[in-house]
Symmetry: D2
Subunit: 303 residues, 4 copies
């Protein structure tokens, strides 16, 4: 299949939606991104990567990092993490805190902020440096040694981090954090601040399409573990729009408020699309439209 033409057709189709929605407003570094950016990249399981538009422009990965921290913890620690975090969809955002209280400090899944804080806490315990561990992994998988933290974003996240601090202290009150709250928050913010392009992310997420094999052919996860991360992505990966994403796109995917979405076609390829304008649920408007059209054109869906 001619991926280049395919991606160009997708880009042309969604052109009217590029610039729709609004970039994330809670920190200046994200709010000031040009909303008319759009890029899409496809990394084949053989490592070939194709892209169109702004596919080589770095952006803030934000919550997409949650998929990688989960993978790194599952690799090192197996299924233990599920004692401390669930894997059920969380319902609407309103529920985030009441759920945590109702379920005694156990977040519903690793992709809501509370759950990712727990995963980061575990990764910190396992590695001694959760954010650097992730950075090195992403550099290796993307083959791009320039992948880096964005210090302005990380500082800005910390400055506006009261809600995450509230979640972390709340879980700490239930004994569900091992490291000090400030340490967990710091590594969490660093992870969110990593800058990568669509190209980098499509490559870095390749192990999810390769049933757990890393870019160099070594095994990161068992096929079963890779499938399972895909399952968590499909059911919980796009905030309160996971059901809608499954309905329209039909692929495992993880979005971030930087406007990126990584999607996986198991056994075939990993996609990454980016456009900063977000819908009310925090997902990229043009990004969702692009993945929707991509699956319509190709018929590739897990269903």
């Amino acid at each position: 299949m001619d991926y280049q033409s395919l991606l160009e057709e997708v880009a042309a189709h969604v052109a009217p939606q590029i610039g729709q929605g609004e970039p994330a407003q809670y920190i200046p570094a994200l709010a000031s991104v040009d909303p008319r950016r759009f890029g899409i990249a496809l990394a084949d399981v053989d490592g070939t990567v194709t892209g169109v538009g702004d596919w080589e422009v770095p952006f803030s990965v934000q919550s997409i990092s949650k998929a990688f921290s989960l993978a790194l913890v599952l690799e090192q620690d197996g299924e233990r993490i599920w004692r401390r975090v669930g894997r059920e969809p969380s319902g609407n955002p309103f529920n985030s805190l009441v759920q945590l209280e109702y379920e005694n400090g156990i977040p519903r899944n690793p992709f809501i902020n509370a759950g990712a804080l727990v995963v980061t806490d575990r990764l910190q315990t396992l590695t001694g440096d959760a954010s650097t561990t992730m950075l090195e992994f992403l550099r290796a998988e993307s083959g791009n040694p320039d992948v880096a933290f964005d210090q302005v974003v990380a500082a800005s996240e910390a400055e506006h981090g009261d809600r995450n601090a509230a979640l972390a202290h709340f879980m700490a009150s239930y004994g569900n954090l091992d490291n000090p709250v400030p340490t967990v928050l710091e590594h969490y913010f660093w992870q969110c601040s990593i800058e990568m392009s669509c190209r980098d992310l499509a490559l870095a997420g390749g192990f999810l399409a390769r049933h757990g094999l890393r870019a160099d052919g070594s095994r990161l996860l068992s096929p079963r573990q890779a499938k399972r991360i895909n399952a968590v992505m499909l059911t919980c990966g796009t905030y309160d729009a996971a059901g809608d994403f499954a309905y329209r796109v039909g692929l495992p995917g993880k979005s971030g408020v930087g406007g990126g979405i990584v999607a996986v076609i198991p056994g075939r390829c990993t996609l990454c699309v980016w456009s900063p304008g977000l819908d009310a649920r925090g997902n990229s408007v043009a990004g969702l439209a692009a993945l929707d059209h991509f699956t319509t054109l190709t018929g590739w869906s897990v269903f």
Copy 2:
């Protein structure tokens, strides 16, 4: 592949779990079912059906009927139903009512009771007889003219139906029911009371594996619609265990408190497993274990 041997291996593997859990207790007709029953059937997309154990014994389909009423409404009415019901996972059972209040009488998805009442209301409006329409459809697809309502179960559901009546009146207070509450409840209870065997259900769900084609080759749903029902089943089909089901089994599935679970391997086959002992979340203990082992043996998972 030798399906017979495969299903026998599955049955042997889960033998220790048969009888675990407890049959649904809220109505006598379900509570009195022998918890040691176990059956599993596989219907190939070509219509061949294979089974082991109690695979030809009828049981109460209960919530599995929700997948069929959704299909019948989508067939006749297209995407209109989504104005009245969402397609997002619902979080924990505790949320059912608060969610309905928070979201102004719009149920989160068609597979929670509130959502299924809305779908039944719409099917009633479209057909004039929601439960008979479904019964006839199930008879045709299963090729079994003896599929029937269980009048004792239907009467018992009505007698113990205060919680469903509360949901229906609550949605009516938001204007989200077109028919009188007693009419909607009646058809809803009749649908739940239908008795079918694993064989019947595996055949009746064949259209979900055949991308929308009915048993006779005619088209019920477009391929896109069939995929979409599978997406809703995967994200919302097993009560508050959808995430766990996706994680462990990795297939679209719909369970019922009668102990049945229908699962779909798109393009390949439809499975139905039955064992009355339920776990705390209302899914068949041995049924879940059987599907888990089936996907382990075959490697068939949508991920």
Copy 3:
């Protein structure tokens, strides 16, 4: 003290607020009331009654009836009712259903609708005709044999009663109703539909100021029971504004969406004020202002 002058001064003071707010809109019979009506009456413990404005015009008592049904149940049944209903404030309206679910079908207090349905259910069991029992009591205490049900309002309540039906069925699902749901609803709606004037209500509530003695000097409740109803009125009597009412007015009071409010000055007198325009929390705007100014002028407050 010259009550006539006092009430005239109160009426003059709140004149600018008469007509503010909006009459209850959920049933036509209430929505069509002239919002510029205003009346206030004061019944001394000796039975003398004074009033100004529309103080002899009947209006729909609505939730004010809840205070009388509680008194009648306490009289006949003592403290038993507290096994089935709490006496804690309910927090915001949003909580009504989640609270009921969270606390297993036990309403937080007898003045939210769910709690009043339980009290009515008990009164029905005790008397065989809850609404007629209340009507006769109110006629006797007010000395007005013309106090009557408003059949249009009662029918209209029933027609728009889906939310109350939802609450009743929900409690029935927890076993917290003894009579059939339609019976309980019917008597509940009849009670709400009773029409009385400020004069009638100030007299009928006299027993709360007389430490439990009825108008004819016979004992309805013990002094302790009368105090306790006052305590429930102060903490729970004005929907989600009970704290604000205690803060501003400082008296036990019970309001209704008909625009009436009954307030008690223990040992001294009972007041009833009426004006149909409601604030966002369902209490009469001018009525609240009148009681606020009354306590400012007199210095009478329980605190």
Copy 4:
């Protein structure tokens, strides 16, 4: 009236309940208090103080301090504080966080922890040293210069303060704190850690019975303000038992998990009772029983 005999009779009556319940367990300094302690003191509005039992033994005031910080803020700042905190009862403890989220970071009242943090934040802004301001006030009113912080308790509160830190950060995320979270928490913990006896507290709360006059006859609050604090105490002063407290005791009261309760009989006297064993809602078992019996003997109740 012979207060000494009265208090002795109360103490004798509740003797069987002394030692029931359990001291607060969340910090060692409270958990280790002897549960068999019991004291009660009554301060007449003229400043005479009477007591029995352990009435001169200092204990940790904990949440009783919330009534004093509210008074100090109202004195200096008038009604402005009500823009940042409500005065409605909060419903059950479960609501604390969901309520805060639902109402955009505005706590329901000044006596739940979230509300007291806001009041402390304001007192800090107004005075530059919220906890020392309170300490000096309490020393002056009680006439006891030895009233002091308990440093062990304050440190222990801070160490186990994750839940309060969560609340503070959460409100900060809504912009409802002016000072840094650690500053607010520090002063809040110091206030809670103050040690006073029943004697000290009955005297210090005298201004609430004296319609706002301090011990030296100078005016702290207007009569209206004093009444209003009493109203908030009655509706919100005993955690999720305010309705029950009003029902049984019928007085404004504020309790703390140190086992103390201050209650006010406006125009007459202020009581303080102490016994460390708490019921499930965090109120002193013997303390509640003592106040209940006191009002039964005297007939003094605001209703």
